[in-house]
């Protein structure tokens, strides 16, 4: 949707604190942004009476609050979020359909997949330690209760991304390696190689290359990828450090999954 957006509603004197991402919001637009961008994070720490009261008292939207209160009784995260999303007017009708379907897909997910979605959302909003912790919980649950190698691989991979961004290079490399072993998808191998070339200096890669049977062709490709990322970094001051390249890959992945 193009065009400046007029903020019509009151800014709260007292902010509402979103516990799971440790962020305060003061306006309906900020809350709508959270609901629209991170549906998976709409958990019991957010869906509570205090937020309904805040919408009514601080933002001065009693009608919206009534609808949220009804949704609270139903336990429907979609119906809880929709009144806020519509009132804020930030999203086009097409985007609202997309967000609605994201909520519906979340509702249909089994608990472990939903937890993975929570971890992904935490990763996307930069809550890296919380994301790593949640990925750990998901991988533990998967190894005990379910056999789902693709989800396991995705879980390890995304955990690796979070660790990489925290500069926990050895841990990240280990996570990428486990993702690569869990799934044969080329993407995981490529990201593992990128991480290896970022995290390890030249003289400390040999053993890893030998153990993982990395070919000359793959080495060249990884070198090109990392060099490309470094060149972009040097040319563009706002460019992320090399590990940003990996997070870019991950965000593409999340876009594809729609969460």
């Amino acid at each position: 949707m193009a065009g400046y957006h007029l903020c019509r509603h009151k800014t709260a004197d007292t902010p509402f604190f979103i516990e799971n991402i440790q962020v305060s919001v003061r306006t309906i637009e900020e809350l709508a942004y959270f609901f629209g961008r991170f549906p998976a994070l709409l958990d019991e720490t957010v869906m509570r009476k205090e937020l309904v009261q805040w919408i009514s008292g601080e933002i001065n939207l009693p009608r919206t609050a009534i609808r949220m209160d009804e949704a609270l009784a139903e336990g429907s995260s979609k119906n809880f979020a929709m009144p806020v999303l519509k009132e804020a007017g930030l999203f086009s009708s097409r985007e609202l359909v997309y967000v609605t379907s994201a909520y519906e897909r979340l509702d249909a997910m089994r608990p472990v997949a939903r937890k993975k979605a929570v971890a992904d959302a935490l990763l996307r909003c930069g809550k890296l330690s919380a994301a790593i912790e949640t990925y750990r919980y998901v991988s533990d649950a998967l190894s005990v209760n379910a056999h789902d190698p693709e989800m396991m691989a995705a879980c390890w991979h995304d955990r690796g991304v979070a660790e990489m961004r925290l500069m926990l290079y050895e841990e990240a490399l280990s996570s990428f390696r486990r993702a690569m072993h869990a799934s044969e998808k080329e993407k995981y191998r490529t990201d593992y190689l990128s991480a290896l070339f970022i995290a390890r200096p030249f003289d400390r890669r040999e053993q890893e290359i030998e153990n993982e049977h990395i070919t000359e062709e793959e080495i060249l490709m990884a070198e090109e990828l990392v060099a490309g990322a470094r060149t972009e970094s040097a040319e563009d001051e706002s460019y992320q450090p090399p590990e940003g390249y990996l997070s870019g890959l991950t965000s593409d992945y999340h876009k594809a999954t729609g969460l």
Binding site: M1, G3, Y4, H5, L6, E29, E30, Y33
Partner: protein
């Protein structure tokens, strides 16, 4: 006083004299407030005095009396001080011009006999000879100090009060042009109100004619005024005449007065035109809005409106911020918007008749790079003159997601469509 709630007030702040009126809804017209109950003394000197060593201030007639009897310090050139910036030392204490004006207004408004002026007055229109930048600033500061909100008060010059007074007369009075002869003891200045009926809304302008010196001697004085009136009437048809100020007397106007009354013209003489005009303006602004088909155009009128094309609840709309047709010193607006990813603001300018439109871009250098709709800006617009609008934009960030930098951008937009 018949009114105790939603009181509409007209207040003349003249160089030498002040007057107050309120709108009597039962009578349907402004009523002047006497300085002493039961008397016909309506005007009071624009004067303020302080008794030394005490927090005792006197205004109006009492100021000179207190100076004489109690040794109060009379502030010289009070009105001129209200137009300036210099602090004034009274009884060894420094006061800003706005503070002195607040003291004067508080005491003057007590004449209305209202228990709580802030709650009882719904709207108050101030009128003065010329609205200089300094006077506007100090009057605003004074009203703020007393506790009035911006929505509760307005200000206009004598010409605009003349406009409001005229259009509250019967229609035959303003069928053609209306002339006001303003007497200043030995001088008379004609003001001519004309209406352009070819445009919608009808544009009303007031032009000032050349002043004429009035000799002391009666016959010569009459001749001089007659010549002045003839010069005014020669160029245009005049259906109504006002005579106001100090210096006119029927005793000497033997030839000029019959001339004014000729051609079925109606003539009024009085010294309450501006105070009643201001009161009518308050009525018009707050309640009646019967002037919709007319637009007063003065040197202070903003002739170009400023707005933005915005999304209102997701639908594209034009959002007016500064409306054309109002006085520049009253043209202020503020709002908060979310940027859509662009690093500039685009304002839409529209002429008064809506025929000419253009846009002005305001760049926001150094704006943090953020995705669309997550940069909240507080915009403040205020006119510095009828042709210049100052815009300030402040980065408010986006809650805890993107902290505010509170960086402020300022630009002056030239208002010409």
């Amino acid at each position: 006083m018949n009114e105790v709630r939603n009181v509409l007030v007209g207040f003349v702040l003249g160089q030498n004299e002040s007057q107050i009126s309120y709108y009597d809804r039962r009578a349907g017209e402004p009523v002047q407030v006497p300085t002493k109950l039961g008397t016909n003394l309506f005007g009071f000197p624009t004067a303020l005095a302080k008794v030394p060593g005490k927090d005792e201030w006197h205004f109006g007639h009492e100021a000179a009396l207190a100076a004489k009897e109690k040794g109060a310090e009379l502030i010289p050139s009070l009105y001129q001080r209200w137009c300036g910036e210099e602090p004034v030392t009274v009884d060894g204490e420094e006061h800003t011009p706005g503070n002195l004006l607040a003291i004067y207004l508080r005491r003057s408004l007590a004449l209305l006999g209202l228990r709580d002026i802030l709650r009882s007055i719904s709207f108050m229109m101030f009128t003065t000879e010329v609205l200089s930048e300094g006077f506007v600033r100090n009057l605003r500061a004074a009203l703020k100090e007393i506790g009035f909100s911006q929505e509760q008060c307005g200000m206009q010059d004598f010409k605009e009060s003349f406009y409001y007074y005229t259009y509250h007369q019967t229609e035959d009075f303003f069928q053609a042009n209306v002339a006001l002869f303003l007497f200043e003891r030995d001088r008379v200045v004609p003001l001519i109100l004309s209406e352009d009926r070819q445009v919608r809304p009808r544009a009303v302008t007031i032009v000032q004619g050349p002043g004429t010196e009035l000799p002391e001697e009666k016959t010569a004085r009459d001749e001089a005024f007659l010549a002045c009136a003839k010069a005014v009437f020669l160029e245009r048809k005049v259906s109504g005449v006002f005579l106001s100020g100090e210096g006119f007397d029927q005793d000497w106007a033997e030839r000029s007065l019959p001339f004014l009354l000729g051609a079925r013209r109606r003539v009024f003489y009085g010294d309450n035109l501006f105070v009643k005009g201001a009161c009518y303006a308050a009525v018009e602004r707050k309640e009646q809005r019967s002037f919709r088909n007319r637009q007063y155009m003065s040197e202070a009128t903003v002739r170009t409106g400023v707005g933005m094309d915005l999304l209102l609840s997701g639908s594209p709309s034009y959002y007016p911020m500064i409306n054309s047709g109002i006085n520049w010193f009253e043209a202020e607006a503020s709002c908060e918007i979310l940027l859509d990813g662009r690093d500039f603001l685009l304002f839409s300018l529209r002429s008064m008749d809506g025929k000419k439109r253009t846009s002005r871009q305001m760049d926001l250098p150094g704006l943090p790079a953020r995705p669309g709709f997550i940069t909240r800006l507080r915009l403040r617009l205020r006119c510095l003159s009828p042709e210049i609008c100052e815009v300030t934009a402040e980065d408010l960030g986006f809650g805890g997601f993107f902290p505010a930098t509170h960086k402020v951008w300022r630009e002056e937009l030239e208002l010409a469509p």
